[in-house]
Symmetry: C2
Subunit: 313 residues, 2 copies
Amino acid sequence: MNENITIGIDIGGTNIELAWVKKDSSILKHIKLKTKNYLEADYLVKDIGNIILEENKNFSNYNILGIGIGAPNGNYFNGTIEFAPNLGWKGIIPLAEMFETKTGLKTKLTNDANAAAYAEMIYGGAIDMQNFLVITLGTGLGSGIVVNGQILYGSTGFAGELGHTIVENNGRQCKCGRKGCLETYASATGIKKTINNFLDQTKKASILRSLDNIQAKDIYLAAKQGDECASKAIDYTGKILGQHLSDYIALFSPEAIFITGGLAKAHSLLIPAIEKSIDENCLHIFKNTVKILPSQLLEKNSGLLGAAALITE
Amino acid sequence: MNENITIGIDIGGTNIELAWVKKDSSILKHIKLKTKNYLEADYLVKDIGNIILEENKNFSNYNILGIGIGAPNGNYFNGTIEFAPNLGWKGIIPLAEMFETKTGLKTKLTNDANAAAYAEMIYGGAIDMQNFLVITLGTGLGSGIVVNGQILYGSTGFAGELGHTIVENNGRQCKCGRKGCLETYASATGIKKTINNFLDQTKKASILRSLDNIQAKDIYLAAKQGDECASKAIDYTGKILGQHLSDYIALFSPEAIFITGGLAKAHSLLIPAIEKSIDENCLHIFKNTVKILPSQLLEKNSGLLGAAALITE
């Protein structure tokens, strides 16, 4: 009997990744595309659908079970992407159905952070955990929440939006239209805003002053070299995140919180700052009950693996 | 065969209620005691244990399955009450085990708000719901959270502490030792603080000025009579609660939020204020997805029924 494989698609604000994945998480084929080439969902389905149909000819020795998609604002219940500001797609897009029509393959879809949580549960550091959080620090802040061994979808399929809890009344403007959302502080976008504020407010020397357009990665590299402003920006981000993770610990009492996504590459500096802040802010009964960990799939794309695993569920 | 019944005990900051309950939630015997008479847990177990053993003689025609207890800071996993400031009990008290030893009856224990959520799920307005919140507005703010049809206990048994999420940095002093917890604003204690602040800050006439020690109930009754200061205090409480329920909606995406407890007797005034605030603060995708409801067990003691139901689970 032919071995089962699935196709995973991870749609991010910058890149789209596509992979043919075996059940043990090994990847047979990996394709990377630029999100900005797909301003319309119709064109994305047509082009990626064609790539899939073409590539599938190379996998005729396998049994392809279907397609799993992780995407911002993805709804697991409906297979739709709804009002995704990071993709520039308007309204409600029935992406799973569109891929099914195009490829003839069964397609499931979930939020990108839920896909990362799913990957952590199946392949990563949460294999033995029933209650944990995954925080993805990319352009925005995504979160996948696992309660009693199940992804928290709530009644609408959209539960788990930690990034859009308000941490500062009338704080920074968020893409969601409101002000002061956690993701305006704790994300690549947030830390860039923070460092620019710091550099404006002080005359301290910083190697970052020579850059035109500071990226999160530059801040991390500068901090590693002892740049004080960069370190302060990472500490501030960790402090805000730790303060609010303290609240989420009181809500979910997770065994661990995994930090993943682009900004999490700074985890050797960021996690100690988060831990310090949780220790200062956490309710007594939860002290020392939660591990703050980098994703155990850091070198891999956990969103992609989680998406592929949706189908073998 | 004898009919099964269970004994429920609801331990609150002011009263302890005790009942012999049938599976259909009808109460065969109901006893009310004052919490302040039990400064030590040992004495509580001895006295209430004796009452149970004595009363059980009247229920020899029934099969008594055990005792279920709802109590502040109760831990379902361990059967303990841990660091309960509202009871004045210090440290960790193995209350379930103590009752088992005293009465010979199987005993389970949970947090009082989880017991209320459990009652709402079995007997109340949440019979058909998989995802909902119960907020108990008493001396403090308790919460029972149901995810996928199960009470959210997390890894420690203490999950769901909405009352101890921080809503105002350096805000009002909380009994937990920190500042700005939601329950310092949204609870009977919180609304009393609010009205006293309002009356100090303004010279407006209010029928509440003639009272020495304003209670939450006085505020409700005054508001019903058109007292402007009282109405403002209720609106302020609803506004703060609605702002933060908007965040919890983004986390849990519940089908409904039930408002119960002493302060919830003002629900005809409080719920519209909460709804208005949620409508103003809620993330776009969750608008109009959540019903804000009074407990459907308002006239009964939902904590007591939920406690009793722990045993027939």
